[in-house]
Each structure stands twice: as C-alpha cells, then as structure tokens.
Amino acid sequence: MAAAMPLALFVLLLLGPSGWCLADPQRDSLREELVITPLPSGDVAATFQFRTRWDSELQREGVSHYRLFPKALGQLISKYSLRELHLSFTQGFWRTRYWGPPFLQAPSGAELWVWFQDTVTDVDKSWKELSNVLSGIFCASLNFIDSTNTVTPTASFKPLGLANDTDHYFLRYAVLPREVVCTENLTPWKKLLPCSSKAGLSVLLKADRLFHTSYHSQAVHIRPVCRNARCTSISWELRQTLSVVFDAFITGQGKKDWSLFRMFSRTLTEPCPLASESRVYVDITNYNQDNETLEVNPPPTTTYQDVILGTRKTYAIYDLLDTAMINNSRNLNIQLKWKRPPENGYIHYQPAQDRLQPHLLEMLIQLPANSVTKVSIQFERALLKWTEYTPDPNHGFYVSPSVLSALVPSMVAANPVDWEESPLFNSLFPVSDGSNYFVRLYTEPLLVNLPTPDFSMPYNVICLTCTVVAVCYGSFYNLLTRTFHIEEPRTGGLAKRLANLIRRIRGVPPL
C-alpha cells in the first residue's frame, strides 16, 4: 500500500505533463487589419482583412479540434478535398477612374472559384454539393450554380496559394450577377470571425452603415501557404476581407471630414484578445507634402512606406495591441480632415421642368495650374409631342452655348482704369485690382439630333388604307351591283379592229 502510493503519485505526475503535451500547442493565429484610404474624389475606402493561419495538414490528420479556424470551413476543406476556395459577394462597382486601383476587386453579385485537390474523382459532383453547402452557410442562393453558369478557365485563375502543378480540370468558376448582398450575408460572415463582432476591429462591422455605401464587397479566401521561410510544409490561410467605399455626398453630407465614428457609428475600444496583431493603417501619402491637405488625428507614432500597386505610399500605423494607444482615452477614433477647402466650391443645379424652365448648372471651380479640367453632363433624348416639332426636325435642336466667366491672374499688374481717359476697349469690364483680369468666354452651341418620328407616316397610312379599301370594297361593290353578259368574240381583220378602236375612242358604237 505504501509502496503503491508513491508509484501512483509518480504515474500521476507522468500523466500530468504528458497529458498537457498531448494537447496540441496553439497552432493557429489571427491577424486583423483595417486600411483607410482617402480617395482622390473625396470619398473614403475602408478595407478590413482578417487572416487566420492554421498550421495543420487537413488532408492527413483527422481533425476534430478547431480553435480559431472556423469549423464550418475546416470541415468543407476536408470533406470536399479543396485546395483553394474564393467566394465573394459584392454590391456596386469599383470606379478605378475616380478612386484609383483597388486592392482586390470582385465582380458584382456572387463569385465562387475553387481548386480541388487532384485526389477528387468527380469534380462536378463535388462542385455542386459544395455550392449547396455554401449557400446554406452564407444564406445566399449559391445553389443556383450549375453547369449552365460554371466554366473551367484555362488561362487565368491560377492558384493563389502553393501549387505543384496546375491541371485545369480541377478548377471551377461561377458568377451569379443577380445575387443581392445584404445583412443576411454579413451575419454568417461575421460569425466566422474568432472574435465575432464583440471585440477588435470587427465591432465596426455594423450592417446599417456598411450597406449605405457606394461599394461593398465581402469575401472569403482559403488557400495553402508556406508555413515558414523555407517553405517545407503547408499551413492553411483563411482571409476574410471586406471593402467598402463611403460616399462623400451620400454618407458624408458633402463634408469631407471623416472619422471612424462618422463612417461606422462606432469607435475602437480594444483589440481582439485572440489576435496576435491588430492594426489600423491610414494612407497619408498626401500628408507629407508641402501643401498638407490631409490631417490625421491622433497623430501617428509609426509609419510604413512601401511601393503599393506601382506608386510609393506612406501609411500611418495605429497598433491596437500597443497599450499606450488605447490607454489615453478609452476608445480610438481616428479622424481625417481635409485642410484646404475643397476645389468644387459652389455648385448650383436647377433641374428643368418640362415646358416651363430649362436646366441651369452653375459651378465655381478653382483650376490648378497646368491642368485640364473636363466637365461632362449626361443627358437622355426624349420624344416631344408631335405639335412641338419644327417643320424641319431632322436638322436638330439647338442647346445654348455654355458660359465661362473667369478671373485670370495677370502677368503684369495693370493700372486702375480711368473711365474717361482710357480708350473704350479697356473699360468693358470693371476690374477692382490690377492683379487679375476678367474674361467671359462662350462655347459653341450644341446641335442635338432628337429622335424624330416619321412624319410621312400618316400620309403613307392614308394611301395604303385607301388603296386597300378601294380594292376590297370596290371589288365587292362591282360584284354585287353589276350584271354580267357573255360577249361574242368579235371576228374581223386588222383594219376592222383598228377602226373599232378609233370608234371606241370617239365614243361611237363599234362596227
């Protein structure tokens, strides 16, 4: 008994630490980041990325313990032998001309492309089942993906992760452009995050602000990546990205001051306790120049410079894991202010009322030096009432010329104008100081071809109708009112026939 006890104790001691060793060390990690980019048009783009990296080979082991990596997606990878999965839901369109190049653009609607492992025998069957399962997870109509909207691209959509060989037989791609993105797609997407929407950057994900945007795109990307620098083994990487563009006029009510509270109606309070890195990057490329158009508050302590998408950019870093960041005030509300007043100072637009008043558009613009400014207006051509057309409608309708009134800086200061002494050509416009002169320019008038109806149509219709009526009615009338006689064939020589012809012309009965 006494000898058994220390033995039992010894065994217990052995089991204790080895028991802890049997439990896997934490093999997954989470990084979250938010990039705020003020866009050239005054709007603001915010891109969230949540990356969970899991150091495990899903194919080889039978996995049953999920920590940060969501179980729903982990089971998908092992059941359908996925190599890569990319699923995105987008509403709106990224306007590259006004906003610059995007980090990651997605097509409008839902897009799903998947690389299967080469152990899969029936790829089409796995693809169909996978789209059904995903439709249940993300509350979307992905079950409408079938052979009529699936393709196998051969030249693009190479794997974004590690790949030995790329046999395109294992790739499937489908897009559902009609798919609507709304809160019911965001809710399960948020639930896949380790901190859900309770802590860290994901507290900013409120549906009523995120959908009040010009562009909203949320995506899930799963791919295998290198586990270490020498790349001898595989880790699974899950990236959840969400990009939104807040419109200056719709959400900002015309003002170009942005802050986290204004964009998301929330501020950041704490980092996600499960994240190893939690950062906010703000694009301050315009900040360090001399004119200093953009001001960021609170001032950043560290910056990051790199060449992104071809241009050199500077980012201010706000690290939520840095205790000094949050300790000052209990929340972090990053504010962006445009110091210089916006270029479009004044716009007045009065839309037309049919047959009452015309359109009026007035804009006060400050033109930068050595630049070209284009102002364009879209219009639609409409049909007028038929009495409102001129007799020559195919000539077109005139639009009055536009007027440009400008105050141009003068190279040389001018003397103040003396109305009586100076010649008449110098006193057309009253000018207060000599440093700039006033000029009023006009453009050419515009000749617009409106859709013209066919005015000859009534004439043609009347002719046709009268012909038809005459032929039909006239024939019936003749058939009903005339009697028919049999006529004897007339015999006679050529002379007699000619004579009869002449007599007929004269109106005289024939021979």
């Binding site: 249940g136 609507v180 270490n228």
Partner: protein
C-alpha cells in the same frame, strides 16, 4: 427468532411507510398528470415564415414576415429552427432610402430587419415547390441543414404566410399560386409522416380564411386576417420610404407579441381577439375544430416561444488567460522535414505555358437515336419511291 421477527416488523413498517409515501407521491403525480393533459407535450419548436411577394411596393409583406421573425427569435426560437423565406430583398433594394433596414412603424421607429438575420430561402428560391418540399421533408439530399424543416412528432410548428391571395389560393411571386387544397394535403402528409405535434397556421392575405377551410388533419389551429370576400388592408405609409409599411392585422399582432415574454401565460383566446373589426376593417377569423386542446389552455409561447433545456449551475468557472499567442512554428519545424523539397507558389500569368496549351480533343459521341432514326426514315422513303427491288441488292 426475535431478531427475525423484529426485522420483519421493521421491514413491513418500512414498506408501509414507503407505500404511504408512494401513495402521496402518486396522488400528486395524478394531479400533475391531469394538469399535463391540458399542457402541450411538445419538446421543440419550429417556425416557417413565408413572404410570397416580390417588388418594392410589396414592402409591407416583407415587413410582416420580419416582424413575426423578430418576435419568434426574441421569444427563444433559434435561427437553426426557423425557416425564413423572403421572396424579394427590400433592405438592400436600391429604392430603400435607408439601406439594410426594414421598418414596421412609420417615422422609422422599429427596424425589424436588425443586425442578426438569416434568410434561408430568398429571391427566386421562394416557390411553391420549395415551400411544399420544406413542409413535407422531401428535399434533395444536397440541401443544407439551415434550409430543412427537421421536425419530429413532438414539434410544435408555427407557419406564417403573407402575400397576395384570393378565394382559395395564395400567389407566389406573381407567377404561380398555391391552393388551399394543396396546402391541406401537405399538412396531411406532415401528419402521416409524424412531422408535427401541433401546428399553428397564420395567414395575412386578402380572403385569408379560405386558405384554412380545407384542412382535415388533426391538431391544427388556424388564424386568418380576413374572411372570404373581404380584403386585408395595409396599415400606414411612410412618406420617406414611400410605401405602406405593414398590414393591419400583422401590425396589431406584432403589438400584441411585443408584450409577451418567454414566461408569460397569455393564451390563444387573447390572440383571437387581437384585431377587432374597428381596427382591422376586415374580420379576422380562426379555426379550432381540428385542435384537441381548448384554446384557453394553449399558451402563446407554445408556438411563438421555444422549449429550452436549461441547466442552472451555481459553480463559477474560471476562464484561463490565453498565454503566448504568437506566430508560431517559424522555428519549430526547422528540425523535422529537412528532407522535403521547398514548395512554391504558382505563377499567376505564365504566358508561355498558356500559349502552348494543347487543345483538348472533344470526345467523340456516336450519333443519337433520333438522328439514326431520321436517316433510316429517309432511306426507306427513297427506296420505296424508287422501287423495292433495289433493297434486295443492299440487304
């Protein structure tokens, strides 16, 4: 001997005491049982909420369904037990001045869409076929779990339908209808497959009472917003959104349900009185003849709430701090696996490889039966025309 006698006396006394206690327990048991007879015997709750109308001017039907969804979730039924079918998307509709919201009260007081909504069947998936498949359980095997009604014979199911209807039918998405006979047959299939314990059917359409006239399965209680020949009217428009926000009947049902909490004892008779003719303009109707229990013993939470198995404990559980979260394994895996070759990423645009891809040979398929038959017909006609004697030389 005396000891055994003593023991036997003790035993009999003991058994007598036991029997007596059992008797008293049995008496209270009988009382309990009698009371339980009037209570429902369900163990889980399900809800199937259907909005069948498409287009922006039918905003109120989506708001109706979402307000019932909201009440049902608030009273305890989880998303996994709710099948929500919305035929159109109003919240993120481009015509919605407040995206991601659906309001039930004017002046935007109550957003019934919320932040935590899961729509199972949406847009084109809301069809009569899918609805009947959900009810009867005859679903294709690849359907995900959230789109299935996995009820059993101890489930209480709430079915709510709203849209445009007429005498005996309900219109789905302006392109098909479901008749009251089909619905009654679907419920009978559910009864025969033991897919429900009790069923509450609520319908808010014009002439809604016609939809429950044909039910013939037991344990069904039905409510409708209007009688045959009457129209159900909408409640109030909102000038900012520009459409009517709710129907009257569901508006007052929502007001009634907002007063209910998971522990309340309100019964069905109160629900029957919810919208009198003075408020609703139409006459709401109900049907209880197929239901076994008396409506005054049926609690609202029997259908709108959920049975929850909750175990209360007074222990405190300490959550451990996560220690040393870091980007691991940069160093750990250096030891092992030195013999494997390094893996590499694929090239995104390998131009040379793309250009020199061999085109895949199309598989050759033999001509189909139709084409063979057509050619046989042509040949027959040819030989008939030119004389059958030619065929002898060929065959």
């Amino acid at each position: 001997m005396a000891v055994s006698h003593c023991l036997s006396w003790a035993a009999t006394a003991f058994t007598a005491v036991l029997l007596f206690s059992f008797g008293s327990v049995a008496a209270s048991h009988i009382e309990d049982q009698a009371e339980q007879f009037f209570r429902s015997g369900h163990t889980n709750n399900w809800a199937v909420l259907v909005c069948t109308s498409r287009f922006w001017f039918n905003y109120r039907h989506v708001a109706n369904t979402l307000s019932v969804y909201r009440s049902v979730k608030r009273l305890g039924i989880p998303d996994s037990h709710i099948v929500l079918m919305l035929a159109d998307d109003m919240a993120c509709n481009p015509r919605n001045p407040k995206p991601a919201t659906v309001f039930s009260h004017k002046n935007m007081e109550l957003n019934v869409y919320g932040d935590d909504v899961e729509v199972d069947y949406r847009s084109y998936e809301v069809t009569v076929e899918n609805f009947l498949r959900v009810l009867t359980g005859r679903i294709p095997p690849s359907t995900p779990r959230s789109k299935r009604l996995l009820s059993d014979d101890r489930s209480n199911i709430l079915i709510y339908m709203t849209g445009h209807g007429g005498n005996g039918f309900l219109k789905f998405q302006d392109s098909e209808e479901i008749t009251n006979i089909e619905l009654a047959d679907a419920f009978e299939q559910m009864w025969q497959k033991r897919r429900y314990n009790e069923l509450l059917f609520i319908i808010d359409t014009c002439q809604g009472a016609s939809m429950y006239e044909r039910f013939y399965s037991p344990n069904i209680m039905a409510l409708a917003s209007s009688q045959v020949g009457e129209d159900s009217l909408s409640h109030q428009p909102d000038p900012a959104i520009g459409v009517h926000l709710m129907d009257r009947y569901t508006f007052y049902v929502l007001e009634f349900l907002e007063e209910i909490n998971p522990a309340s004892q309100t019964n069905m008779n109160d629900l029957f009185q919810v919208c009198p003719k003075s408020l609703c303009v139409s006459t709401p109707g109900h049907r209880t003849d197929l239901f076994q229990r008396d409506p005054k013993n049926v609690l609202i939470t029997d259908f709108f709430g959920s049975v929850r198995k909750v175990e209360i404990t007074t222990e405190t559980i300490n959550l451990q701090q996560d220690s040393e979260i870091m980007e691991t394994s940069y160093k750990e895996d250096q030891m092992g696996e030195e013999l494997m070759e390094p893996l590499k990423y694929a090239e995104q645009l390998p131009v040379a490889q793309i250009i020199h891809q061999k085109p895949k040979l199309k598989d050759w398929h033999p001509p189909g039966g139709f084409i063979l038959g057509l050619w046989a017909l042509i040949i027959m006609v040819f030989f008939k025309t030119y004389g059958i004697k030619h065929m002898k030389f060929i065959f």
